[in-house]
C-alpha cells in the first residue's frame, strides 16, 4: 500500500502548496472566481533627479503630492482567460512655488483588457500574457491634463509567477512582469517596465513581500514634469516593501512603503500604499 501513502502525500502537499498567501498579480484568477482590489496610495516628492541621475534639491516650499485610489477588477472567464480592469481616481497637490498650489482631482487613465495563461507548469508556475487598452477617463480634447498623458494607449504584458523553487525556499512565491506600453500621441510616450516580486509567508496569515520596479518612459518631450502621472521622458527604480495579512479566505490586506533611490528626470518619490484583496 506504499502507493496509497504516496497518493496521500500528494494530496497533503498540494493542499499546502495551493494556498500560499499570494497577491493577485500574475496569477490566473480562474473560472467562476472574481477579484476586487481597492488600493489607496500616497506619493510625495520634493526633490528630483536630473537627466544624469543627480539629485537636485527642490525649491523651498515646493512639492508634489498625490493621493490616489485604484480599483482593480478581475473576472475569471475561463480557466485561462481573465478580464481585468483598473480604474484610478487621483487627487493631486502640486506646489510649484510657495503659496502657489495647483490642485487637481478626477479619474485618470483606466486600463482594461484580458490576461491569458499561456503555459501552466504543473499548476505551480504560470506564464501569462496580458493585453490591455489605456483609456483616459478625463477630457483629452482640451490639451494636456495633470491626470494622465491625455492619449489612448495600449499595453502588452508578459507575466511569470509561481512558487519559489524548492532549492531556494519551501515557501513563498515570485512574480515577474515585463510590460510595454504605448500612448498614441505624437510625443508618445513608449514605456517599458520590469517588476519583480518575491513574497514570503512569515506565519500562517502574514507575509512580507518585496517589489522591485524598473520603469523607463521614452518621449521626444524631455521636459521635466514634477507630476509623475503626466511626465513623459524619465526612468526610475522603485523598491517597495509590503506586509500582508490574510483576515479571511476572501479578504487580505497589504500595507507597503516605497522610495525612489535612483531615477532620471523624475522625482525623488516616496510614499506608501494600502490595498485590500477581496476574492468573490
Amino acid at each position: 500500500m506504499r502507493k496509497t501513502v504516496t497518493i496521500w502525500l500528494y494530496i497533503c502537499l498540494c493542499f499546502v502548496l495551493i494556498t500560499p498567501l499570494k497577491t493577485f498579480a500574475g496569477f490566473p484568477i480562474g473560472k467562476y472566481r472574481n477579484i476586487v482590489v481597492p488600493t489607496f496610495s500616497y506619493y510625495r516628492q520634493t526633490d528630483r533627479f536630473d537627466d544624469k541621475d543627480h539629485v537636485i534639491k527642490g525649491a523651498p516650499g515646493t512639492s508634489f503630492t498625490s493621493y490616489s485610489s485604484n480599483l482593480f477588477i478581475g473576472y475569471g472567464i475561463s480557466r485561462r482567460l481573465d478580464f481585468i480592469a483598473t480604474i484610478p481616481y487621483l487627487y493631486q497637490q502640486n506646489i510649484v512655488a510657495p503659496g502657489y498650489k495647483l490642485v487637481d482631482a478626477g479619474f485618470g487613465d483606466a486600463v482594461v483588457g484580458f490576461s491569458y495563461n499561456l503555459v501552466n507548469s504543473n499548476f505551480v508556475r504560470f506564464f501569462s500574457i496580458g493585453v490591455s487598452a489605456i483609456v483616459p477617463m478625463y477630457n483629452i480634447h482640451d490639451g494636456p491634463s495633470p491626470l494622465g498623458l491625455s492619449a489612448f494607449g495600449s499595453e502588452v504584458k508578459l507575466m511569470y509567477c509561481g512558487n519559489l523553487p524548492k532549492d531556494v525556499s519551501t515557501k513563498g512565491y515570485f512574480n515577474l512582469e515585463f510590460a510595454y506600453r504605448r500612448y498614441y500621441n505624437t510625443q508618445g510616450p513608449d514605456q517599458i517596465s520590469l517588476l519583480g516580486t518575491v513574497g514570503y509567508p512569515v506565519s500562517k496569515h502574514d507575509q512580507l513581500s518585496l517589489d522591485i520596479l524598473l520603469y523607463r518612459s521614452f518621449s521626444s518631450n524631455k521636459e521635466f514634469n514634477s507630476n509623475i502621472f503626466a511626465a513623459r521622458d524619465y526612468s526610475f527604480f522603485k523598491p517597495q516593501l509590503n506586509y500582508g495579512h490574510t483576515f479571511t479566505r476572501r479578504f487580505s490586506a497589504f500595507v507597503g512603503g516605497f522610495y525612489v533611490p535612483f531615477g532620471v528626470n523624475t522625482g525623488v518619490g516616496y510614499g506608501g500604499s494600502l490595498l485590500g484583496v477581496i476574492k468573490i
Binding site: 502507493k3 498540494c14 502548496l17 524548492k166 496569515h205 527604480f237 479566505r249
Partner: protein
C-alpha cells in the same frame, strides 16, 4: 541608473537560473548500458482514431564502447493480442545518442500496450508503455442484475434501521491552534461500529467538506493539511480504526462471504460510506456546510466514492482516482493476459482455484451487484477522474468504461501516461483547482 539596471538583470538571471536548475534536477537520472526513453507526441499518450500514433524514442549509450543492435517495438491490445511489430537497426558510438520516430498507423478505439525493446549482444532492456485511442468512446457491457436497484434500495432500508448512535470526541492531543480534531464513531449496516476522523479548521464558521473514503485495507488518519475544507476521513469496516469485528489482511478482505451476495463484505462497506454521509448531515453544528460535500478516494476508495455519489444525491462533487473493480468482466479478460497476476484477480483466481464449485458464473452472480460500473449511470453530480495508463490493477480501459457510463455530462478525466496504480502530483493540483472552481471557493 545603469548600475541599477545591471543589478536588476543580475537578480533576474539568478532567479531564472535557479528555476532552470530545478527543472534540470527534476529530470530523473536513468541508468543502463543503453537508455531508452519513449515519449508520445501527444503528451497524455491519448490519440484519436483519425491520427497516427507517434512516439519519439531517444537512445543514449552509457558505455565506453560502440553498441550495435536493434530497437524493437511491439504493439498489442490491452488484453495481449498482437497488433503490429517492427524493428530498427541501431549503431551507437561511445556516449552517443540517437533519435527514432515510431509511427503506428491509425488505430481503433481502445487501449494498447507498446513495448520498446533494446537488443544488444550483451544487453536487453524493455520499456513498457500504454497508449489510448478515443478513450471517451470506450464502451463496455453493463452486467447489471435485474434486481440491482431493489437490492441496494433494500440495503439502504436496512441501514436506516440501524440507529447511528454517533459519538464525537474532541481529541485535544491531536488538535492544533488551527485545527480541531475529532474522533468520530457510529453504528452502521449490520450494527457494526465504524470510526473516522473529522478535522475542522478553527479560522471560520462554515466549511465545505472533503469526505475521503479509504483504499483497500488502508488506515486513514486525521488530515491536517486542508485549510479550506473540513476533512472527514472514514475508515470503513475492516480498515484503520474500524477493525473491531472484521480484522483481516489484504489477501482475504475482498473474499469475505464472496459466495453470498447478501453477505458479501462490500455490502456493508458501501453502506458504511452512506452512514458517513449521514454523520456529516447530522452535524452541521460543527461547521459543516452540507451543501458542499465532495467525496474522494483512490483505488478502492475511488470506487467507494463513486458508489457513494451514485446511491446518495447529497454528494455534490465526486473525485476519484484509479477506481478499483471497475468493469470487472473486462478486467478479468485483460488480467488473463498478464505475465504475473496482480490484485484483484490474483486474489479471486487463487480463491477460485482452491474452491471447487466456485465458478466464475458464481463469482459474477455476486460481484455484478458490486461492480462500480453498474453504479455509474446513477451518478449525476460533476465528476473528476484520474487514471494511470500503466495501471494493471485498474486497467485504463475499465476505468474509462466506467467513466463513460457516468450519467453526468459535467465530467472530466486526467490521464497520467507513465503512472501505474496511482496518479501524480499534477493531478492533485488540478483536482484542488477543479474543486475550488465547482464550489466557487475563492
Amino acid at each position: 541608473m545603469k548600475k541599477v539596471c545591471y543589478i536588476i538583470v543580475f537578480a533576474l538571471s539568478i532567479l531564472l537560473g535557479s528555476l532552470a536548475a530545478v527543472k534540470a534536477q527534476q529530470q530523473t537520472e536513468e541508468t543502463g548500458d543503453v537508455v531508452l526513453k519513449a515519449t508520445p507526441y501527444n503528451k497524455t499518450a491519448l490519440f484519436t482514431s483519425s491520427e497516427e500514433v507517434r512516439y519519439r524514442v531517444q537512445l543514449h549509450n552509457n558505455t565506453k564502447q560502440q553498441q550495435n543492435g536493434r530497437v524493437l517495438y511491439q504493439v498489442t491490445t490491452d488484453d495481449g493480442k498482437k497488433v503490429t511489430a517492427d524493428s530498427v537497426r541501431i549503431s551507437l558510438r561511445e556516449g552517443g545518442d540517437k533519435d527514432i520516430i515510431v509511427n503506428i498507423r491509425k488505430r481503433n478505439t481502445g487501449f494498447y500496450r507498446i513495448n520498446f525493446i533494446v537488443k544488444l549482444p550483451e544487453y536487453d532492456d524493455t520499456v513498457r508503455r500504454v497508449f489510448g485511442v478515443n478513450p471517451e468512446k470506450v464502451t463496455s457491457q453493463l452486467h447489471k442484475p435485474k434486481d440491482f436497484d431493489a437490492f441496494w434500495k433494500q440495503s439502504k432500508v436496512e441501514l436506516a434501521q440501524v440507529p447511528a448512535n454517533y459519538r464525537v470526541l474532541e481529541r485535544k492531543d491531536l488538535s492544533t491552534q488551527y485545527k480541531k480534531v475529532y474522533s468520530v464513531e457510529m453504528h452502521s449496516y449490520g450494527d457494526l461500529v465504524i470510526r473516522g476522523w473529522l478535522v475542522v479548521p478553527t479560522d471560520g464558521n462554515k466549511f465545505p467538506v472533503h469526505y475521503r473514503v479509504p483504499g483497500y485495507v488502508v488506515s486513514l488518519q486525521p488530515n491536517m493539511d486542508n485549510d479550506d475544507f473540513i476533512a472527514f476521513d472514514l475508515n470503513v469496516r475492516g480498515n484503520g480504526n474500524s477493525k473491531d469485528v472484521i480484522n483481516i489482511g489484504t489477501d482475504n478482505y475482498s473474499l469475505i462471504n464472496i459466495e453470498n451476495k447478501e453477505k458479501y463484505i462490500y455490502r456493508g462497506v458501501y453502506m458504511d460510506c452512506l452512514r458517513g454521509l449521514d454523520f456529516l448531515y447530522s452535524h452541521s453544528n460543527l461547521g459543516i456546510d452540507t451543501s458542499k460535500i465532495f467525496v474522494e478516494g483512490g483505488s478502492q476508495g475511488g470506487s467507494l466514492a463513486l458508489i457513494t455519489a451514485a446511491l446518495d444525491k447529497r454528494v455534490k462533487l465526486l473525485t476519484m482516482q484509479v477506481p478499483l473493480y471497475a468493469d470487472i468482466h473486462d478486467n478479468f479478460a485483460i488480467s488473463a493476459s498478464y505475465d504475473q497476476q496482480v490484485f484483484p484477480f490474483k486474489v479471486f483466481r487463487k480463491y477460485q482455484s482452491q474452491h471447487a464449485g466456485f465458478s466464475w458464473e458464481k463469482f459474477y452472480s455476486t460481484f455484478d451487484y458490486y461492480d462500480p460500473q453498474n453504479f455509474a449511470p446513477m451518478v449525476k453530480c460533476p465528476v473528476l477522474m484520474g487514471i494511470g495508463l500503466l495501471d494493471q490493477f485498474c486497467p485504463p480501459r475499465c476505468s474509462m468504461a466506467l467513466y463513460n457510463h457516468i450519467s453526468s455530462t459535467n465530467k472530466e478525466f486526467v490521464c497520467v501516461p507513465n503512472s501505474t496504480h496511482e496518479v501524480n502530483f499534477n493531478y492533485f493540483m488540478f483536482q484542488n483547482l477543479w474543486l475550488r472552481e465547482k464550489f466557487r471557493i475563492p
